[in-house]
């Protein structure tokens, strides 16, 4: 308003309408000055102000004022956002089920391992701008620098490991080591960038070798299968044999009990018979003989009686025919 008063004082000579026009012009000019000088910084950003090219201040999120007409230059830097670079593949369309393109990125992903084998490593790096001033003024092409350095660092780490370590054993370790190394490099460049994480994605043997690696896996499975089959057979046969063995023994014990009991029984019977028999030996003997014959002979078809003093079978007494 000081400007306004000054101009108003010096402009006494012209007529009233002229004065009014001037007032309006001045008001508009001031308005333009203020409006073009206002700027906002979003919550995820920092504003970097350069006055005549020289860095003066970084402004926090909110509404701010700068000198317009090219004196102060504003650059907004997204300091909260996490940026990502992909190696060996590119995300075509991110989503619930992201689509990737892997064509022709072999040159990034194929690398030599410490045992002079080859591995196909895909990875990503996430980073954040930590220091906007350094980020803007120290390195010209930060993205490319990060890409170059990351490739170099990953290969350095992979180059010190066996193909087995890279593919199977210590993926996490590789990523962690690369992360530390990369951060060191970026600090050396004063790039103002902080590595959030390096993550190995698909790590595979090279395309041509893959079937052979799979063969190892399937051979491993097959080994297990063959061994399991053998154990299965073992488990099928041996418990059954144990059971059978028990049966054999039990049967033998049964036989033994049977044998001894019968012997005892037979002996008891004999003893009892004998004890009675010994009192009337002859008559009992005869009776028993005859009783037996009585039992047997009716069942026999033919009975021949042979006289020892005569030779041959005849003459004979045919009891069967004679009976008729």
């Amino acid at each position: 308003m000081a400007d306004f008063e000054e101009i108003k004082a010096s402009a006494k000579i012209p007529k009233i309408p002229k004065k009014r026009i001037l007032t309006i012009v001045i008001i508009i000019a001031v308005a333009i000055f203020i409006l073009t000088g206002l700027y906002t910084v979003n919550p995820e950003e920092l504003g970097v102000i350069q006055r005549f090219g020289k860095y003066v201040v970084s402004t926090e999120p909110g509404l701010h004022f700068k000198i317009p007409f090219g004196v102060d230059k504003l650059t907004k830097v997204k300091v909260k956002e996490v940026f990502k670079e992909e190696f060996g593949f590119r995300t075509m369309r991110a989503g619930v089920k992201s689509q990737f393109s892997r064509r022709n990125f072999d040159v990034e992903s194929v690398m030599l391992t410490g045992d002079l084998n080859i591995a196909d490593v895909e990875w990503i790096i996430q980073y954040r701008i930590k220091d906007p001033v350094r980020y803007l003024f120290n390195v010209r092409n930060v993205e490319e620098t990060i890409r170059d350095l990351t490739e170099s660092v990953i290969r350095e780490v992979v180059g010190d490991r066996s193909v087995d370590e890279v593919i199977v054993l210590n993926r996490k370790e590789i990523a962690d080591e690369a992360e530390i190394l990369l951060q060191k490099e970026l600090n050396y460049y004063k790039a103002g960038v902080e590595v959030v994480t390096i993550n190995l994605q698909n790590v595979n043997p090279p395309e041509r070798v893959r079937p052979a690696f799979n063969e190892v896996n399937s051979a491993k499975q097959e080994k297990e299968r063959i061994i399991n089959q053998a154990w299965q057979k073992y488990n099928e046969i041996i418990p059954e044999a144990r059971g059978k063995a028990k049966r054999t023994i039990e049967e033998a014990q049964g036989y033994a009990i049977n044998r001894v009991n019968r012997a005892n029984g037979d002996a008891d019977r004999f003893m009892q018979m004998y004890n009675t028999y010994k009192n009337a030996k002859t008559v009992t003997r005869k009776r028993m003989y005859l009783e037996t014959m009585q039992k047997i002979l009716p069942n026999v078809e033919k009975v021949y009686i042979v006289d020892e003093e005569q030779k041959g079978l005849l003459p004979l007494l045919d009891l069967n025919d004679g009976g008729k």
Binding site: Q50, G53, E108, M111, L112, G114, D115, L116, I118, V139, T145, E151, S152, E156, D160, S162, V163, E165, R208, A212, E215, V216, K220, E222, K223, E224, R225, I226, I227, A230, K233, Y234, I238, A241, R242, K244, A245, T248, I249, E251, N258, R259, V260, A263, D266, A267, F270, M288, T292, M293, K295, I296, N299, V300, E301, K302, Y304, I305, V306, D307
Partner: protein, 316 residues
């Protein structure tokens, strides 16, 4: 207005415009990303100015030349180079550089493209020298870190590659390219910040051979697994046969033992009883045998002196 005052007014405007032109020509802005040298009729004066902000110069007479102050990129082409152990590899390096003496840079190179071609020449040359005096393994590996392998690989033949000691390693080889290049490129007002190996690959022939070797290595491991499986299986089946034989024969032995004992005691029992009167036993047993063995299908032959016949005779 009079003629004179009109003239005065015009002159005033002209003077003002001229003054403005002169002032604007005398002022120049240096960005944080830039550095500047001033030439006067082509001759450089006053050295490098790299403080950002508003600056003054003698208008029209002095000319401002702007140069990048930031670290700049350089990415080499992949080059095929033989290593000292005669392996052909593709090597891709990159570098970062900075114009640290703009005057020298202005005199010798002037533009970035020209600088890139200088870097190409120098770094390619030193890279070739350094790489071809080292073994492949030294370029691939970075330290003597102990490599570990999955257990299946460990038992297969690893070759000599693993046992070699690394004297330099990738990083120090890159460092020696850097150290050799740095003074050469300094001639052009350029400070080399870094030279690094980005990518390293076998050439197609070697790569194909490496693939073949990797395949045969894995096949070897696969074969080992399979035969291990077979071996273990045979072992188990053998053990099964042994266990089976043992179980069966032990059972037989035990069973026979039990039976034998029983038989023995039976014999004992019978003997004790029958010894009282062997004749009576014989008689009983004979009768019993008759009873059990003679039926309709038999023909009985008796001698005339058998008891039965005797009874018949006597009863005539």
């Amino acid at each position: 207005m009079t003629e004179v005052s009109k003239m005065k007014y015009k002159t005033l405007i002209i003077v003002a415009v001229v003054a403005l032109i002169i002032i604007f020509n005398a002022l120049y802005v240096i960005d944080e990303r830039q550095q500047v040298i001033i030439t006067q009729f082509g001759d450089p004066v006053g050295g490098t100015i790299n403080s950002a902000g508003l600056h003054l110069k003698i208008p029209f007479i002095q000319k401002v030349h702007f140069f990048e102050k930031r670290i700049l990129e350089w990415d080499g082409d992949a080059k095929q180079i033989p290593t000292s152990d005669k392996r052909y590899i593709w090597l891709d390096t990159f570098s970062r550089w900075q114009i640290n003496d703009p005057l020298k840079f202005y005199e010798t190179t002037r533009f970035e493209t020209a600088a890139h071609s200088r870097l190409d020449d120098i770094i390619s040359g030193t890279t070739r020298d350094v790489i071809s005096s080292h073994k492949l393994l030294e370029i691939v590996r970075n330290s003597n870190r102990q490599l570990t392998f999955t257990e299946e690989f460990e038992t297969s033949d690893l070759g000599d590659v693993i046992k070699e000691t690394i004297h330099f390693g990738r990083r120090s080889i890159a460092d020696s390219i850097f150290v050799l290049s740095k003074p050469l490129i300094a001639e052009y007002g350029i400070e080399l910040i870094d030279v690094r190996i980005k990518r390293l690959n076998y050439n197609e022939d070697v790569q194909s051979k490496v693939f073949d070797r990797m395949i045969s290595e894995r096949q070897k491991i696969a074969t080992k697994f399979r035969s291990e499986g077979e071996g273990k299986s045979s072992e188990i089946l053998g053990r099964m046969k042994k266990d089976l034989d043992q179980i069966e024969s032990q059972a037989y032995e035990t069973a026979q033992n039990i039976k034998g004992e029983a038989d023995a005691s039976a014999i004992n029992i019978y003997a004790n009883a029958y010894n009282r009167d062997p004749g009576f036993y014989e008689f009983l047993k004979t009768l019993e045998t008759y009873e059990l063995t003679i039926d309709k299908k038999n023909t009985l032959i008796m001698t005339t002196d058998s008891d039965y016949y005797k009874f018949l005779k006597s009863s005539k």
